[in-house]
Symmetry: C2
Subunit: 480 residues, 2 copies
Amino acid sequence: MVGSVEVFSSEVNGKNGSLPEDFDPTAVVSEPLPPVVENEAIVSGNGIEKKGREVVLGRNVHTMCHEVTEPDMDDDITGEREAYMASVLSRYRKSLIERTKHHVGYPYNLDFDYGALGLLQHFSINNLGDPFIESNYGVHSRQFEVGVLDWFARLWELEKNEYWGYITNCGTEGNLHGILVGREEFPDGILYASRESHYSVFKAARMYRMECIKVDALVSGEIDCTDLKAKLFSNKDKPAIINLNIGTTVKGAVDDVDMVLKTLEETGFTQDRFYIHCDGALFGLMMPFVKRAPKVTFKKPIGSVSVSGHKFVGCPMPCGVQITRLKHINVLSRNVEYLASRDATIMGSRNGHAPIFLWYTLNRKGYRGFRKEVQKCLLNAHYLKDRLRAAGISVMLNELSSTVVFDRPLDEEFVRRWQLACQGNMAHVIVMPNITIEKLDYFLDELFQKRSIWYQDGKSQPPCMAADIGEENCCCALHK
Amino acid sequence: MVGSVEVFSSEVNGKNGSLPEDFDPTAVVSEPLPPVVENEAIVSGNGIEKKGREVVLGRNVHTMCHEVTEPDMDDDITGEREAYMASVLSRYRKSLIERTKHHVGYPYNLDFDYGALGLLQHFSINNLGDPFIESNYGVHSRQFEVGVLDWFARLWELEKNEYWGYITNCGTEGNLHGILVGREEFPDGILYASRESHYSVFKAARMYRMECIKVDALVSGEIDCTDLKAKLFSNKDKPAIINLNIGTTVKGAVDDVDMVLKTLEETGFTQDRFYIHCDGALFGLMMPFVKRAPKVTFKKPIGSVSVSGHKFVGCPMPCGVQITRLKHINVLSRNVEYLASRDATIMGSRNGHAPIFLWYTLNRKGYRGFRKEVQKCLLNAHYLKDRLRAAGISVMLNELSSTVVFDRPLDEEFVRRWQLACQGNMAHVIVMPNITIEKLDYFLDELFQKRSIWYQDGKSQPPCMAADIGEENCCCALHK
């Protein structure tokens, strides 16, 4: 007899405590297949399904998806299932190769080879909770994670015994963490972020029920410190939690940490009344190597820095690094209710493979290797900008950036083919280490050829980009 | 000249606009190595570092970590670096094999073979944002993700055009999402969760600034509906957001959704005044196959269900599945500010490999395969419980569970060796598909042998477990 059944029956009022004599808790349902909803799921021969469904608010159509189908009873014998899956995966791999080849729009370094780590895919590696507190689960990679964290703490100049951090699932998690730490430091603080900030920053404000003030941005995409100053001044009575963009998503603009600190000082915010989170998703790893960049360093009174691992470093799956001051985590930890003292991460279970990927690349490249790649990216970005400019195309490249912004191609087909991220009239190419001159030439050739078609009859004109990237960068009929 | 530099200099007041003639934005720093902090990092010959650091509040010691070191200039030629890394990884792999072999404590199915997917590790697969809305980034796996989501929606009986969901990074993200959806439905709702709930539930309450009421649990671990009733009754004026545990973390107890619905009804909560999130991290995939389990189904007025992918399914990295009603997401989406209409996930970038792992296993096993594994796990759990009971050890196994709770081994060495999750006097083994009778015998032999040493002199006695698992399950001197 299962002891706990008696516990249930005796303690739960209103529940019939008696169980049949033949009760077998291990009995499973006789027919495990839930019924299929009618008028749905017309499966074609190869298991790929085209759904004729209407677009619903908040949800787009089910596009071609690889349906999961129930194995036939004899699949083990015939091998049909394995064969079908192998064919799906083979086709998929082919498409990944093609898509990877034509990718220029997102800040992902697609050039990596983790073949040496293939043997680890057989393990369920999970860094549960805090990187610095071992859990009883032994299949983890904390020894790699802490090595990676030390490397980044050194990059951003925070001493080993003064930092805390962890490897996140993505840039968003870094922002969620940094802003949460800020809010816990200043429960009634106001979140300030420029309107060019990543949408996860505003998502955080909403999630955390924080007052959030959007600050204007310059045409470059950089935070407008004049506007910031005015807004700080009008809200002097509440502490400030500031999100700084070390590379905005669209224009790759770098907020000037020194100018923001000056603005805080000028408006009377002392260091005990503000918290700065630096969203360094992409450029957090590049800026330290650029000579003239306003340095992102914990020697300045910033609270946290996050960076993505799948961007400049390159990684099969999204991941990121979050570094903050240990004292902030102590504030969290002192509150016993919080996280039940178990950990100070956003997620509980954490991907243990990501730290090993990062460790592998950091060890191979080193600080010097990254410096070389940063230089290459900036040079190639200038090459791209110069060639676009020479062709009479509106284009902007911020001085500390490898994000080349230009007018959105007229043809969505072309946008999709090259996987360009677009906003309004703008499209951009982000020059990552895998974007070589050859690839840029390939891209430019196609673009120029297409433009000669789009604009051949003179009826269509490239849009005016002055409001987006400034008059001096605009090559529209009026400004060229 | 970089156009945007002029933008900066002309627009930013207080910033010195003039740049030197020889300004080169691509110039990188001459010495990229940040200085190492003094009195730290005593690196031994093999690069593994033992740090003699004090324990700091909120942070444990840096344990043995694999430091990232700067490559030597001639590493490319000598191959020393590659050799060093290969040796680290080889030793690490060896330890993973050993740790995987001795794992019985966490609900992770470590038995999988994704060799066929090894070829995909070369791609940076990212399912940015919503699974149903394609982004321009082409290297994604939405076609697999949606297939997996359809499978789970069918399992939990929600029609294809009525659900929304996504593949998360872990069970915590599922809880964060479900509770957020509940809060958006009922902004002034109170979160109710039994004290046996996963800590991420209370973390969510704190993050989201929600009022949260802890409900008592029965000895079995199940939510105490008498206490729930009293607490609902005292807070009748505010909507209820309820977290149900479909398998508690420690005791594997399943909250009875039917009884909770009855309690809501009895206290006057109509369906427009409550939201139920089911945390099915482990058992969400098992319960549908157990004959007598209170069925988790969207035919009942529940709002969301989450399940982990690395638990019963098995996956190299943590992941999970979150399914909710499409109408709830529409509530979120109607608020334009929220997530900038981009997506309704918690994370932005999402691991595109996880859906393929899940797709692969679901396709191979099917509903029938999972039913078989569920039965095997329940049978093996009973085997373990019976053998412990026969040996006079306090033990509890809930009727719908494969979590076997027994008294915590006296020796922490043994706890670590078998990676047992412990709480107070309790330890547990969670019988997953990879926990065979042979492995259980191996474990039991060691346990019995150790116990004969721990308790040989009669000075030490196993603790009384009556308060933890009930008198009838306790085999202490008093209760046996």
